[in-house]
């Protein structure tokens, strides 16, 4: 799920306030016809599920209004806090790693080497992006198994003698960060590089004349100028992190049950729905996740002035 979401940053480049002249617009039916198909899908798979989830979260299985009952019930579940704790730990590690490393690498590729060489690097980093989802987890199951891994020496140096030791529940955040970074970072490096490429040469040249070294230019000039992308990257990485499902689910399968089947909130919601048959509780967990994702996005968006819609 990661690399493609990453590329959404693409569109940011062109978000500019658009001055409009309403008088020249045509009012009328045509617009409605053009948006009709999309609007139907938006209602069916965006708005209705959200509304339905809210409805379920505030009622019980007989459709009676229960107020915050479902939320209190799931929040008191002994698996609830650990699940949110797990993704929080994962998110902090993942955000720091991906933002720092992709930015550093993009700066290096942009200012420290010839464009031809840097394009080869960008391409090589980008390739694992094709292995999103299930495939990437499966590859890393092999990479983390000291018996077959090409890095088994490294694993053993860390004290892991067999696969079971690697797949300890407490290692899961690190494993998930590794997988996410492997598939997602390449796309980000490409995007960050493009953003850096957009900074006029004259600016950097002026800095060089003034005696700034490459790291100083990076810190004082390049970084502030690509802030918008970094913020956007954080939003998407955060949203992706809150939704973890397939990765811990597969790791759970492969760990022969040592990893909790309710490691992430989405998995907990899944267990509620399909093992307990409690769709109201599952919906309450979904609402928690939605709220968390939207609050963080809202804070980042408003604080950074991202997504400037057309100012009429």
């Amino acid at each position: 799920m990661t690399v493609l979401e990453n590329e959404r940053v693409a569109a940011l480049e062109s978000v500019k306030p658009v001055r409009r002249r309403p008088a020249r617009r045509r009012a009328g039916l045509a617009g409605y016809l053009f948006v009709s198909g999309y609007t139907i899908l938006l209602v069916a798979f965006g708005i209705v599920p959200t509304g339905y989830a809210i409805y379920l979260a505030f009622t019980n299985d007989r459709g009676q209004f229960t107020g915050l009952g479902q939320f209190i019930k799931v929040a008191n579940d002994y698996r609830f806090l650990p699940a949110f704790e797990n993704i929080l730990i994962y998110l902090v590690m993942w955000l720091i790693l991906v933002i720092v490393l992709t930015t550093v690498v993009a700066v290096i590729l942009r200012s420290r080497m010839r464009p031809g060489l840097s394009s080869i690097f960008r391409f090589l980093f980008y390739i694992p992006g094709a292995l999103a989802g299930v495939a990437s987890v499966l590859v890393w199951l092999f990479m983390l198994d000291p018996a077959v891994s090409p890095a088994s020496g490294l694993l053993k140096a860390f004290g892991f003698q067999n696969f079971a030791q690697v797949l300890q529940p407490e290692n899961l955040p690190v494993i998930l960060v590794l997988i996410a970074f492997w598939t997602g970072a390449g796309g980000w490096i490409v995007v960050m590089y493009g953003a850096l490429n957009n900074i006029p040469d004259e600016v950097l040249e002026a800095a060089r004349v003034d005696g700034a070294g490459p790291w100083q230019s990076a810190w004082h000039i390049q970084l502030p100028m690509i802030r918008k992308w970094i913020v956007y990257q954080s939003i998407l990485a955060f949203a992706a992190g809150t939704q973890l499902f397939v990765e811990p689910q597969l790791l759970q399968t492969a760990s022969l049950g040592r990893v909790s089947p309710t490691w992430s909130p989405n998995q907990l919601a899944y267990v509620y729905a399909f093992q307990h048959g409690d769709f109201n509780g599952a919906a309450a967990i979904s609402i928690f996740l939605l709220a968390l994702g939207l609050i963080v996005a809202a804070v980042l968006v408003t604080r950074s002035g991202l997504f400037t819609l057309d100012n009429e």
């Binding site: 045509a30 094709a130 999103a132 092999f142 490409v190 490429n197 499902f245 492969a254 899944y270």
Partner: protein, 305 residues
């Protein structure tokens, strides 16, 4: 964007030979480590199906086995549930391409209308689209499942194609593209020349929108191809699985990861590795062929290269 030259601290140390040497060393080290990290697993994956499960453990991890063993792995994999992997690939193709077509048919006109026509509720629609875009979509998978269930669509092709074809990001991309790069005067001129709204869209806007259409097609296809959660929930039987869910089933049939269920089956690590390669092949090919166009499109003409 504002230049920040004025904020630059006056450091003059960067060009000293020693620090230059150190900083180059750091750069080389970072790049080398990352290169190994990104490329090594991919190389290992390509070599794994040429070896037996035993060789995977005992031979050098990056050694080549034999083509004979590759053929054997292929045999084992294709005979799993009488060629289930082909069925899964076919299913994935149907789901991905079906949704892709619906996505294009709905999102291109919608993005166009949001950018270049005026109607009541336009801003609301745009705002809702942005909100849905940054919403963690997996949180909606369960309610979507219930909704599909309500309409009796569970287990049908539509239970995958319809939700997949909802792609707000595509609408947003088209909106940005038209809002920033299509001169409004061009449309006015066409209208004065007697084009109706449909003709303006079809004859003027569409031919200019090719790059962004390619971009959406790519994102939508790859998203659909890799999606796991929804098909995992709504499709009950193996002959309907897309390849991603099929891989999950293969994993639970591999003895090294599931000693109980995997007994007696011929699916071992090399077969699993081969299945992974086959599963990602369509996306990989798409990646390789469209990399240049993608990067260019992603940055929407912003690069100087």
């Amino acid at each position: 964007m504002t230049t920040t030259l004025d904020r630059r601290a006056g450091g003059h140390t960067g060009t000293r030979p020693v620090s230059r040497f150190v900083s180059t060393g750091i750069v080389v080290l970072i790049l080398a480590l990352l290169l190994i990290f990104f490329v090594l697993p991919a190389i290992w994956l390509l070599l794994a199906p040429t070896k037996t499960a035993g060789q995977l453990i005992h031979d050098f991890p990056l050694s080549f086995g034999s083509f004979g063993q590759l053929g054997a792995a292929w045999q084992h994999l294709t005979s799993f549930q009488n060629g289930a992997i082909f069925q899964w690939l076919g299913n994935s193709a149907v789901y991905s391409i079906g949704s892709l077509i619906l996505t294009l048919v709905t999102s291109v006109p919608a993005g166009y209308a949001l950018a270049l026509t005026e109607f009541k509720g336009r801003k609301t629609l745009l705002t809702v689209t942005l909100v849905v875009m940054i919403m963690p979509s997996a949180a909606l998978v369960l309610p979507t499942f219930l909704e599909l269930n309500l309409f009796g669509l569970i287990g049908t092709v539509w239970s995958i194609i319809l939700p997949f074809s909802f792609f707000p990001f595509g609408v947003y991309l088209v909106y940005i593209y038209f809002a920033t790069s299509l001169p409004r005067d061009l449309l006015s001129a066409a209208r004065i020349d007697g084009c109706n709204e449909w003709q303006v869209f079809w004859r003027i806007a569409m031919p200019l929108a090719k790059p962004v259409i390619g971009l959406i097609a790519f994102f939508s296809f790859v998203n659909n191809w890799n999606n796991f959660f929804l098909p995992y929930l709504v499709l009950p039987s193996s002959d309907q699985f897309p390849i991603q869910v099929g891989l999950n089933q293969l994993l639970s049939s591999t003895p090294s990861f599931n000693p109980v269920a995997g007994k007696g089956l011929n699916i071992t690590s090399p077969e699993l590795a081969l299945a992974i390669i086959i599963a990602i092949l369509p996306v990989l090919v798409l990646f390789l062929f469209s990399q240049r166009a993608l990067v260019a499109g992603m940055l929407a003409g912003a690069t100087k290269e």
